[in-house]
């Protein structure tokens, strides 16, 4: 079987990339996770790793070539596949991922003053508002694969919560209710009254708390692997996230997020490490930890109040989630639609981005 290697999209603002260097030559066997090539974007040079094992048969893009996201850059195929077949495949390849995302190419993050905090957010597209709320230790870039396609039909807004991403590295109100209050103030500051709320993990609990506190402002509620629906949680992941310092330890911890642990590459781990080194991050994360955990369990459980939510509620859960137990997605009230994703862990917006996009579109349509 022929497997295409295409120019990746590393975030909303990426439209094209330049091949800097090939690490693997045609004919070589590669393992899953092995470095294939370095690609330079306007922002950063990064390494594309092999998603699966196989034999690299062809470089389609040479060093120095700049290609749009989704373009074919290499071909993997078993040794027995004839060259002619690969020629034909390369000749007939069509970019299926459309690079345009509601003028996303020009989109740059902005900041909003919220109280004495500065919150960073990325807003793209036009239409009904969709707000993305990341989880503990994440940031708005985690939504890239979901926000980008949705921006063609919605006014998408992904924010960095206090203490995260490029927002102020202080968390004055670290509990779920406090964060929901910051979210409300943020939406006030950017002039969004009502939105589809999409929250992940801790961000799911925040979205839920927001919807309970401000029922009229939630057009719909989409909770991905959400916190707040049970006591159990992988507290070790949170503690290690805060305290692991060496990259191998950080990588090992991050691998728990995914069904396919090979998705944790050095760039992701390095991003986490660099984030954690910033002044104030340690204290912010510890504040969140202190408010969020009670011993080895979640301090705030809103499960009993889920039925109160008036907007349509969608819960998406990967069956392989090792952070928040998927069992907490069972037995939810009737107003909640639950979708299970196979071969997905705690990060369905990354591991199953296409499916999540489809589910969200359908959900928003239902809510409209």
């Amino acid at each position: 079987m022929i497997v295409p290697i295409t120019m990746p999209r590393w975030g909303l603002t990426m439209t094209e990339g330049t091949v800097v260097e090939w690490h693997v030559q045609p004919g070589a066997s590669v393992g899953a996770g092995q470095m294939l090539l370095d690609i330079e974007t306007t922002k950063i040079t990064n390494t594309l790793e092999a998603a699966e094992a196989g034999v690299l048969r062809r470089h389609v893009a040479e060093v120095g070539q700049t290609l749009p996201c989704g373009a074919l850059i290499a071909v993997m195929a078993p040794p027995e596949t004839p060259d002619a077949e690969i020629d034909a495949y390369v000749g007939s390849f069509v970019i299926t991922e459309v690079a345009d995302a509601g003028g996303a190419a020009e989109v740059e993050p902005k900041t909003a003053a919220v109280g004495d905090l500065t919150l960073n957010y990325l807003r793209a597209g036009a239409g009904a508002a969709v707000v993305f709320i990341h989880g503990f230790g994440g940031d708005l870039s985690g939504w890239a694969l979901v926000q980008t396609p949705l921006a063609s039909a919605f006014d998408t807004i992904a924010l960095d919560l206090p203490g995260h991403g490029k927002s102020s590295k202080r968390v004055p109100h670290a509990d779920v209710a406090g964060l929901a209050g910051e979210l409300a103030a943020f939406l006030d500051a950017i002039g969004v009254q009502r939105a589809h709320l999409v929250g992940h993990s801790l961000g799911g609990a925040v979205a839920l708390a927001f919807a309970l506190a401000h029922p009229q402002r939630a057009a719909s509620l989409s909770l991905l692997a959400p916190a707040g629906l049970g006591r159990e949680i992988n507290a070790g992941y949170i503690r290690n996230f805060i305290r692991a310092e060496r990259r191998k330890d950080v990588e090992a911890n991050l691998r728990q997020l995914f069904c396919n642990p090979d998705l944790v590459n050095r760039a992701l781990a390095e991003d986490v490490i660099r984030y954690k080194r910033l002044d104030g991050v340690r204290q912010s994360l510890e504040a969140l930890e202190g408010a969020f955990l009670s011993g080895e369990q979640q301090a705030t459980v809103l499960r009993e109040r889920l039925a109160e939510v008036q907007a349509p509620v969608l819960v998406i859960w990967g069956r392989e989630d090792r952070i928040v137990p998927p069992a907490q997605g069972q037995g939810l009230p009737a107003n909640v639609q639950v979708e299970w994703l196979e071969r997905s862990g705690h990060m369905p917006q990354v591991e199953a981005a296409d499916k999540v996009v489809a589910l969200l579109k359908r959900h928003f349509a239902k809510a409209a």
């Binding site: 260097e21 310092e245 060496r246 050095r266 660099r274 910033l278 002044d279």
Partner: protein
């Protein structure tokens, strides 16, 4: 996040820390320069403009421009440090430390120990190091081995702008004397550098790339030489792990040992002279504690045991380059091939 040069990253770190902590002061020759004034007060801001603009923001009370008297600079800094300030002294060229080495290794480095832990000496000595600048034997040396040898000193040698900023902020906040060596030939190298303050802990190596065949340890400018060599080798199917320890004291021994446990081969790249050097230090570490994993000789790529030449062609031949590193890698790998053959 913008790209910044190492020069700008160092300036950024100084500026942020001086804003954050009023006890942080600068002391050095010409550090007040670049203020936009006229005459002697508007020299460069350090020889290569690293401290440019700080005098304007922080004034003469915190940016102390001195006569040419390195022993006074370091003496003042050591005294200020034990009196509660956090001085950042600039020793223009590390070659000049010979006139103030007593203040560094016999005084500052030993205060904490000799006063039974009751004295803190939070001082940073920034200095330029390295060859490649056509500056001859007395302005081109790489003397980190001397500082690394002395207990009580921490030694930092950033290879890129991101590290330079994070390590310098860490150095300023550290309660011990820190020698911070900036390679004069890579000041213009740019990198993504956050605008915010951040710290990189000492004793934690940066692993730039991972490969199964050989471990290359390199510091400061040599990291780039090692990466060039690694790219050449990759083109020939030899995959190198490249480790930048970032600080030679403390040293991230674990990262080096763990890598050699996997690759079985070690090459160390060090711009300094070879004897009693950082290169031999890493070699000795591995020859003791990862001996069982070694499959070939440990190769060192260093300057020769001679002063830095003034003649440009000789200076170029003096500095380790990618071809020499590649040859060293092939030499140690050849031992394995011989053993298997």
């Amino acid at each position: 996040m913008a790209k910044k040069s190492i020069r700008a990253a160092v300036n950024d770190a100084l500026k942020l820390e001086m804003r954050r902590d009023p006890t942080v002061i600068l002391i050095g020759e010409d550090v007040a320069g670049g203020a936009g004034g006229s005459g002697v007060q508007d020299a460069w801001g350090g020889v290569l403009g690293v401290t440019k603009g700080l005098y304007k923001e922080f004034g003469p009370g915190r940016v102390i421009d001195t006569p040419i008297t390195e022993s006074a600079i370091i003496g003042v800094a050591a005294g200020a440090a034990v009196s509660g300030l956090r001085p950042v002294a600039e020793l223009m060229f590390v070659d000049f430390m010979g006139v103030c080495f007593d203040q560094i290794f016999n005084q500052a480095a030993k205060f904490r120990y000799m006063f039974g832990g009751k004295a803190r000496t939070p001082m940073v000595i920034r200095s330029m190091m390295g060859a490649g600048f056509r500056a001859a034997a007395q302005h081109s040396q790489s003397l980190h081995a001397l500082f690394t040898h002395i207990p009580g000193l921490k030694v930092v040698m950033p290879s890129n702008a991101y590290d330079a900023k994070g390590l310098l902020i860490q150095a300023i906040r550290d309660d011990d004397p820190v020698i911070f060596l900036e390679h004069k030939a890579i000041y213009d190298l740019e990198d993504e550098v956050p605008d915010e303050a951040y710290t990189i802990p000492f004793g934690e190596a940066n692993i730039l790339r991972e490969g199964d065949d050989v471990t290359i340890v390199a510091i400061s400018r040599m990291v780039h030489v090692a990466m060039d060599a690694a790219k050449r080798l990759a083109a020939a199917g030899i995959q190198a792990t490249v480790i930048d320890p970032r600080t030679t004291s403390p040293l991230d021994e674990d990262s080096i040992l763990e890598s050699v446990e996997e690759t079985g081969h070690l090459v160390v790249v060090d711009e300094a002279n070879p004897r009693c050097s950082f290169a031999t230090d890493v070699a000795a570490l591995v020859a003791d504690r990862a001996f069982g994993a070694l499959k070939g000789p440990i190769k060192l790529v260093t300057a020769p045991h001679s002063p830095v030449p003034f003649a440009p062609n000789l200076e170029d031949a003096y500095i380790p380059n990618a071809a020499k590193v590649e040859a060293a890698v092939r030499a140690t790998l050849a031992a394995r091939e011989l053993a298997t053959a």
